[in-house]
């Protein structure tokens, strides 16, 4: 019975106003951090106000039993739980939002019943959970605006809690805590920065359900046609010359006009969370017109799915015949500015989590939607990407299928000097891969990336003008030149448009993709392998780096590289070191694990030292003493307050003067025997003392104050 009561009792009422205020600050900050997200804006005012009111109410009623409050809160908990179940049933693919709403309301209700310190600490704990929820929803650095005050309030709350606990242990003088909190906060933030850098990052996103916007009933406006909202005709073949729009890339249409000039702005158009770093591929163009590109095959395949994800079955020539296991690339796209109705994804998209159940798949492996991406839209894609190395590509062999040769080697009449350049560059190159790299190197080394070039001054072939007249230009011109040169050298190739990976924000873990990251690059076909990306434009991420983990492994990665480099230097001079290299290299690869293991060992050693320096177990008299003090507290509430100078026996006599108190007598005798007896009392004595205490408690509750018997 005593054990059960100990379990359900939350302790004495907490009277410390500063502790309550700091914990209230932490809770309100966490609530504000969560409700900063669009999905919870409706709770932004109500929940913090109710939480504050709840804390005030709890302080006011902290000494009372409040059974009626508990009943009301229990009923309201059931109500919000029922609402949560209804929301989940209505949309089982988006449980995070109703779950967060449930958490917010549970936190709010709990605020009305936090009389004791244990309850307050539970509120602090739940505020950490809310901060984690806010971080999971966070896509930009706004979260840090909440994290800084949260750190302050949490540290201050912990300091006040420690002070309150110390006050229980020994009455201290009044403490000035402001300097302690300030210094601690600075130290904690500094250490946190170091920890953040040192924290190993592993590949994650092994989620059952990836995020996507709730499904909407949309009109199928485009019926598989590509529509670019930045251009009046949607980026198609409009009448006359297109007018440059700095807020939208002209390559997201059915054509790419190489005569267009201008610079895109730096507005963030989307944020991408991904396991790996890739170009976000959108559209593919196979037909070169001399002044631009178009898609020769406008046919699309409609794919419908009732429930996400939508699994894609690509056209025959898009299916990769690569024998090795592809990389599983999981990506979530958070749209910030309206985008064309195409799915941006790392190649090759396999499963889609979209707000629509109907998509269109073209023969190039690109996916089109029934409407454009509106700001706030979220969708996820699981891709199966191949990043074959040079040796693998050199070993590619076999005949290119005739239908691919027809489509991807076709060229309009081009100037002879272009064809001559292609043959000159690829002469003597034994494999397709070497020919591709020869052209790629030539473009990197002899041409400049420049967005300020004037319009084409002389009529004629756009690639010829770029290669021999202007010699500088946009990524579309680099990519077009590479594709034309490769086709001239009998290597199937095509032009791809999309977005470069963007800039990784290490704090959010998201790639921030700007308008100016819109990009064009090249895919070349290798028999037996499939389409492989190449980057012709200097200054853009080399395709060799694509497929790298999205989140940098920070110091762990650098340490592994450093160790490997040092060992390689040693191995060059010593055969023994060469033997060690393999093992050490493996160790360096697992530097994170080694670091973790060392940290664990250090923690264990510290704990061992601490355990060794702990004082020996207290005499049982100490435990009996604690029980005796509880008895004294119990009696003090009933009017028998033990004077500091009163001995155990004298106090017993005084209590018994008002009536027989056998429990007090028995417990006093046990304590005296423990303190002055020749032998230590055993566990039986402790158990007996607990029984007496429990019996005394029961009897006191039944009797009037100040009287026994």
């Amino acid at each position: 019975m005593l054990g059960w009561r100990r379990l359900v009792e939350t302790g004495a009422p907490e009277h410390s106003v500063p502790l309550r205020l700091w914990i209230l600050g932490a809770v309100v900050t966490s609530v504000l951090a969560v409700t900063a997200h669009d999905d919870f804006l409706e709770h932004r005012l109500a929940v913090p106000v109710l939480v504050a009111a709840g804390f005030a109410f709890s302080y006011w009623r902290r000494g009372k039993r409040n059974w009626w409050v508990k009943l009301i809160l229990a009923a309201l908990c059931l109500r919000v739980g029922w609402q949560f179940l209804r929301d989940v049933y209505a949309d089982p693919f988006h449980t995070s939002v109703p779950l967060t709403v449930l958490l917010l309301w549970l936190q709010t209700l709990h605020s009305f019943d936090v009389p004791a310190r244990r309850d307050l600490l539970f509120s602090l704990l739940s505020s950490v959970v809310l901060m984690a929820v806010a971080a999971a929803f966070g896509r930009d650095l706004t979260y840090l605006l909440y994290l800084a005050p949260y750190a302050l309030t949490a540290v201050a709350a912990l300091v006040h809690n420690a002070q309150a606990a110390a006050q229980e242990a020994a009455a201290p003088p009044r403490l000035g805590l402001a300097p302690a909190v300030n210094h601690l906060l600075m130290v904690v933030l500094l250490v946190a920065a170091v920890v953040f850098v040192l924290t190993p990052r592993y590949e994650g996103m092994r989620l059952v359900a990836l995020p996507f916007s709730p499904q909407r009933l949309l009109l199928d406006l485009f019926a598989g046609r590509v529509f670019n909202p930045a251009y009046p005709d949607g980026g198609g073949e409009g009448e006359g010359e297109q007018v440059w729009n700095p807020r939208g890339y002209f390559g997201f249409g059915t054509t790419v006009d190489l005569r267009m000039r201008g610079r895109l702005d730096d507005a963030v158009v989307m944020r991408v969370r991904s396991t790996h770093r890739f170009n976000w591929r959108a559209l593919v163009f196979d037909a070169y017109t001399g002044s631009g590109w178009k898609m020769s095959d406008a046919h699309v395949q409609e794919v419908n799915a009732t429930f996400p994800p939508i699994h894609l079955v690509h056209w025959k020539d898009e299916i990769l015949r690569y024998a090795e296991r592809p990389i599983r690339v999981v990506q979530s796209f958070y749209i910030e500015a309206e985008q064309p109705n195409v799915v941006f994804a790392a190649p090759v998209a396999a499963s889609l989590y979209l707000s629509t159940g109907r998509i269109y798949l073209d023969r190039y492996g690109a996916v089109r939607l029934s409407s454009t991406h509106k700001p706030g839209t979220v969708y996820s894609v699981v891709s199966r990407a191949l990043v074959p190395d040079a040796a693998r590509l050199r070993a590619a062999s076999g005949e290119v299928p005739s239908e691919l040769r027809e489509r991807y080697l076709a060229l309009p009449p081009i100037p002879e000097r272009v064809r001559d350049l292609a043959l000159r560059l690829t002469a003597g190159q034994p494999t397709s891969y070497d020919r591709v790299m020869a052209v790629n190197r030539h473009l990197w080394q002899h041409y400049a990336y420049d967005l300020r070039i004037p319009p084409q001054r002389t009529p004629g072939d756009a690639v010829d003008y770029f290669l021999f007249e202007e010699r500088r230009g946009y990524c579309e011109q680099f990519a077009s030149a590479m594709v034309v040169l490769l086709r001239a050298a009998e290597v199937p190739a095509r032009l791809v448009t999309g977005y470069a990976p963007g800039t990784l924000n290490p704090l959010t873990g998201l790639y921030e993709v700007q308008n100016s990251d819109a990009h064009a690059w090249v895919e070349a076909y290798f028999p037996g392998i499939g389409w492989v990306e190449f980057e012709p434009t200097p200054g853009f991420p080399d395709t060799a780096n694509l497929g790298a983990p999205a989140l940098r492994r920070w110091v762990w990665q650098d340490l592994a590289g450093l160790v490997r480099a040092r060992l390689q230097v040693l191995a060059a001079h010593s055969p023994v070191a060469a033997r060690v290299l393999d093992a050490a290299s493996a160790l360096a690869q697992g530097a994170a694990w080694i670091g973790l293991a060392l940290a664990g060992l250090a923690a264990a050693a510290g704990a061992w030292r601490l355990a060794g320096s702990r004082p020996p177990a207290r005499a049982p008299g100490g435990d009996l003493g604690a029980i005796y003090l509880r008895m004294c507290a119990m009696l003090a509430r009933r009017g028998w307050r033990r004077a500091p100078s009163e001995t155990v026996d004298e106090f017993r006599q005084r209590v018994e003067a008002s009536g027989p108190a056998p429990e007090v007598a028995a417990l006093s005798a046990l304590v005296e025997a423990a303190a002055y007896g020749r032998e230590d009392p055993g566990p039986d004595a402790l158990e007996e003392a607990r029984r007496h205490l429990e019996a005394l408690g029961t009897r006191l509750r039944r009797r009037r104050a100040g009287r026994f018997g």
């Binding site: 994650g204 924000n505 704090l507 989140l551």
Partner: protein, 325 residues
């Protein structure tokens, strides 16, 4: 060792790390770093102040049963620390005090206030210093050896005038208070008490002890008093305590009146103690260890003195009168 709050924080940090990894969320890694930093700082601020800590304790030589006394503790640490709880005392009488700040290179004073529950001679335990640091996430404990002994005198109470009259008869010169120095011999010194003449203050002794001390005078031929303490081994601890308290009360009352008091009893043989400190020190530790008083009384050297036997907390006169003290 981690406290409940520390364990909870560690579990949360682990959960947030898993969540951050699975969601590939940098912001969750930031939150996780904050939690880990709290743990690291909490561990450091709890462990370091205790690790480099030295302590000295200054213990009064005597205390009185039931009367508060303080043990002064000086702490010195190589590291700054906050909220250090110092626990010390002896078996059955332990107290805690809080050292709010410990600054490296600066001695911090802590006073342990405790109430000795029982007379006796005690060896002080070591000091247990506990630090939870300012964040309270870890508990670091260390026991520091800091020796010392203390004697707790029995509690005294006012002696009824009737008993006092038997103990120090007026006819033989007993009177209360400190007498004038005319025609009297210097007996000794004692602590200043309210009502003492300032002219009797012995300044040299006062300066040495740090408390006012007055000269005590005695008439040349003051009467002798013997207080016989019953140490019958058959009596219980509570009875022995009561006897020691009564004997102590009589001793001090008699000394205050200038009587020549001998405190006597039978341990392994007859023992005699004269003066305040010797008598009280003996009473602090007396234990029931002797044969029945009737057997040993004839062998005690009390001839020529007024005798009063203290047994079971009561005063017994030679004529058989029993007085409650």
């Amino acid at each position: 060792m981690p406290t409940r709050e520390g364990t909870t924080t560690a579990l949360l940090a682990g959960a947030v790390f898993l969540l951050a990894t699975n969601l590939a969320s940098g912001l969750l890694f930031v939150l996780d770093a904050l939690l880990v930093a709290l743990l690291l700082v909490g561990f450091g601020t709890a462990y370091l102040p205790v690790r480099g800590l030295r302590a000295r304790q200054r213990v009064p030589a005597q205390g009185v049963e039931g009367a508060g006394l303080s043990i002064e503790i000086t702490l010195e640490s190589r590291h700054a620390g906050r909220l250090l709880v110092v626990e010390g005392g002896w078996q059955g009488a332990r107290a805690r005090a809080l050292a709010p700040h410990v600054i490296p290179g600066v001695a911090s004073q802590v006073s342990l206030a405790l109430v000795p529950p029982r007379r006796g001679r005690f060896a002080l335990d070591g000091l247990d210093v506990t630090s939870k640091g300012p964040l309270g996430l870890f508990t670091a404990r260390r026991r520091i050896a800091a020796g010392g002994r203390i004697t707790i005198w029995p509690r005294t109470h006012p002696v009824p005038p009737g008993v006092l009259a038997h103990l120090v008869p007026v006819a033989e010169g007993g009177s209360s208070g400190v007498r004038t120095r005319a025609a009297e011999d210097l007996y000794g010194v004692r602590e200043f008490r309210s009502g003492d003449s300032p002219s009797h203050i012995h300044w040299r002794s006062s300066a040495r002890r740090g408390a006012l001390v007055v000269r005590e005078f005695e008439r040349p031929h003051s009467p002798g008093v013997a207080i016989v303490v019953d140490l019958d081994s058959r009596q219980g601890a509570a009875q022995m305590d009561a006897t020691a308290r009564t004997a102590a009360s009589l001793l001090l009352a008699a000394l205050d009146r200038g009587a020549d008091v001998v405190l006597t009893g039978w341990e392994e043989g007859p023992v005699e103690h004269r003066g305040r400190e010797a008598g009280m020190d003996w009473l602090a530790a007396v234990a029931p260890c002797a044969p029945p008083l009737a057997e040993v009384l004839p062998r005690l050297r009390v001839a020529g003195r007024h005798m009063m036997v203290v047994a079971a907390g009561l005063c017994h006169l030679p004529d058989g009168t029993v007085l409650a003290c």
